[in-house]
Structures are given as C-alpha cells and as structure tokens.
Amino acid sequence: MSNTIVPFGPQHPVLPEPIHLDLELDDERVVQALPSIGYVHRGLELLAERHDFTEMAQVAERICGICSFIHSQGYCQGIEQLLGIEAPPRAAYLRTVWAELSRIQSHLLWLGLAADAFGFESLFMQSWRIREAIVDIIEETTGGRVIFGTCKVGGIRKDLDADTVQRVRQRLRDIETGYDELATIFRRDPTVKQRTVGVGLLSGEDAYALGAVGPVIRASGIVRDTRKLGYAAYGELDWEPIVEQAGDCYARCEVRLREISQSFDLIAQCLDRLPSGEIEVSAKGKRPKGEAMFRLEQPRGEVCYYMQANGQKNLERFRVRTPTFANIAPLVHMLKGSELADVPVIVLTIDPCVSCNER
C-alpha cells in the first residue's frame, strides 16, 4: 500500500504562526517530514541595507514578539563591535536583567503552549498567569509589554532607580514561589509524563551533527550555551549551563523548567551587583566599518548576527540566523518514526518561532 501524505499546518491549533509540514505516513507512523516556511517572509535583512544603522535597532527588536529584547541586544552589540565602542557596565548588567526577564516570559509562554498542546487547560492558564506577573515587571521597568524599546547602540535608553530595583527584587521572589509550585506540577503530573517521556528522541550525536541549538541540544546531554561566551554581564555571574541527558520531549521541558529557575537567580545576582555609573556611550559621528559575527543565546537557542559595513550610514549586509532555522533539521530527524498523534508535541518542543525565522 502506498503511503499517505498528511499536510500539517500552515494553520494548526498548536501553531501560533504559519509553518507547513508534509508528513508522509505509513499507517500512523511518520516516514518522512518535509518542512516548508516563508509564508510570512518580510525581508527585514534587506531593510537594513536602506536604513540608518541606529534606526535599525528598533526594526531588529521587531523581528520577533517574544525574543524582542534579545534581538535588539544582539544587533546593538554587533554594531558596537563594528564601531569599536563598548557599553558601560551598568548598561551591560541591565541588558542582562531584561534578557533574562524575557527568557522567563518566553519559557513560561512555551510551558503554557505545551500544556495546551497535550490538552491540559488549567496548567496552561496557570503558566500564563505567572507569565503575566513577569510581563508586568517588564512594563514597569521599560514601558512596554512586548517591545521593550530600551536598547540602543552604545547602551540603554532607560535606567532603573534604587527603589524600582528593590521592588522588582521583592516581586520576583514572590513570583518564584508561585513558579516553584507550577514546576512541581509539570514534574509530577502523570498526564505530562505520558505525553512526553520517550517521545521525539534525539541522541546527543545526532543533535550535534544536525546543528541543534538551545534547549534542544542541551536536552540531549551536550553542554552548549552561547551565554558562556561571556557577552553582556554573563562572564561575571555564577552559573552553569543546564543539561539533561534523555533527549526526549520531557527532557526538553525539564531544561526549560530549570532554566526559568536559573534566570530568576541570574536576575537576582545582576540586581545585587548592579554597578553605578553611565548607561550609554555616545555613538555620534561614528560609522560602522568592517564585518562582525555576533552570537548570543535566545530562549530558543543560539542566534547569529552577521553584519558588514563599509563606513556608510547603513549596513551592507545584515543577516540573522535564528534558532528555529537551525532547529528545523533536528525536527525533521525527530519526526521520522514518530506517531502522528505525537507530531504536535514534538513540533512544539523545539519552540518554533516562525516570525523569527521569516526575517
């Protein structure tokens, strides 16, 4: 009997954004999966060739609505490298705080979506309830819930006073208590385990060979966290990458659960050691020249910015390689041999961010 082809997406209940997979099925088992993207391709990389490099920081932030701040951080740090300037320590620490806040909210969003994907509605609501408290902190410190708008070339645009720092610390402690309860449910509930343990296996060798990034590779037992490069304040903080060995959907869930706790800790460390001083250095009159490749860790994994400039106002080439793009090849590998009913969960565990993908 010939195989059946089932289209998955571009519109699917577990997918907030359009990505399409052609699933070739033998009975209920996936033989091959063919992804295709580009439904919402926006050509932002070309836009960088027409816009002033300082203005592009705002466009870079709008590449994605979840990792918004980290995109602008990566863009600004890449440009700073080309200009030969360095953001002051206070700016580096506050950038780290905001990057970790957005990591927490992104992972909580993912936990909610994952709970929704295996039909656990009340867990989904609870995750997003905790996420709302984090988003409130983001709004109080930056003024925006999704688009932070605080990163600029040379530093940051907004400072935090001592009062706010104290208040944020106190509130984060309260949120962490609530989060610990949520994490216990994820770890102990049998429904979560039944849908994820042993599903979508990816061995460490395969993950490395296929170029997986972020929680996907760390759940397969390989220590690889781009934050270890020590950009922003990460070089001065005490932390170790989180690694799980199993390589299944449950391990990927566990990596994200533990990363949230780690982010709470990193923010506390940053706020404790927050240096005083300037928050920006002037980039006035400078023009980017040369080329740079800048890598940093997003909630979904390593993102690469390649930028090239020749002393003009605009960049000659701006390229963003997003983590989801790197995780497509491992996803195709994981889907081979899985059950059709598990496909939504497996697709979700790479945390696909299609709008990141479609720069």
């Binding site: 063919l34 295709s36 993207i37 580009g38 439904y39 391709h41 050509g43 990389e45 070309l46 060739e49 027409r50 740090q77 700073e80 490298q81 360095e86 490395y208 060979a209 296929l210 170029g211 690889r224 781009t226 270890k228 490069l229 020590g230 950009y231 080329e291 740079a292 490749m293 800048f294 890598r295 390593e302 690469c304 390649y306 090239q308 605009n314 000659e316 080439r317 390229r319 390689r321 793009f325 790197a326 497509i328 090849a329 491992p330 590998h333």
Partner: protein
C-alpha cells in the same frame, strides 16, 4: 566586546574540502549565508567548536551561480542551501533534499539577488502625499 573570530577567503574548489576537514575535526555547522554584490555573490559559512567560531567566504559569479553542496557532509546544510537557492538563485548541485525553489514560499522569487537601490524619491513622494 570582540570575539576576535577570523574571516577567511576561500577559492571555490576548496569549499568542500574545508568542510570535510572541519567535519572530521568535530566542528559543527553554525550557518551559511549569502551577500549580493555587483558582479558576484559572496557565500559565507561558519563552523564552530567549543564556542569558537571560524568563518569562510567564497565567491561565485553572478552569471553562473553554482555552489557545491555541503549537505552530504553536514546534514543540517540542506536548510541553508535551500534558503540560498530561494533568496539568491544559487544552483546547488548535490543537495540531498532539494525543494526546487519552494522552501521559502515568498511572494517575490529569488528576492535578494537584485540590485540594491535606495529609493529616496519614492519616500519623499509618500510624505508629500500625506501632507495634502
């Protein structure tokens, strides 16, 4: 902060041999990308091992844009090579999984291969239109 990562130029015939060497040394493919120039395309590839990244560049002519595929060496290269194909119109012989130009379903086909011109006139025209 500068990572001091090197960018090296390669001849096109070293493209595959460099990849084989890096694969056997345990490097990982980080990314591949292209840049459109006036008379050629610049293709860049990055490998990484233990957080250290090395970048290689090669040139392929515009009238004969052909790039040997790395997808047999690094399985993950198929997404990048299909992207190069869809954005720049690069022909990639030996691609393990060839979408035939349908990987990125963009409205404009081979969108990044054209000449990049700043349309100053168009921008002012819209502005004037708004003021009316």
């Amino acid at each position: 902060m500068s990572l001091g990562e090197p960018f090296e130029d390669l001849e096109l015939d070293q493209w595959v041999t460099t990849a084989v060497r890096h694969q056997s040394e345990g490097f990982r493919l980080v990314q591949m990308t292209g840049t459109a120039r006036a008379d050629h395309f610049e293709i860049m590839v990055s490998y990484d091992k233990d957080y250290r990244c090395v970048n290689y560049r090669t040139r392929i002519p515009r009238d004969h844009p052909e790039l040997p595929s790395l997808s047999a060496i690094f399985p993950a290269a198929f997404t990048y090579e299909n992207e190069l194909k869809d954005l720049f119109g690069v022909v990639v012989p030996g691609l393990t999984l060839d979408y035939g130009g349908n990987f990125l379903r963009t409205k404009t086909k081979i969108a990044f291969s054209g000449e990049v011109v700043v349309k100053k006139g168009a921008a002012t025209a819209t502005k004037a239109g708004q003021e009316v």
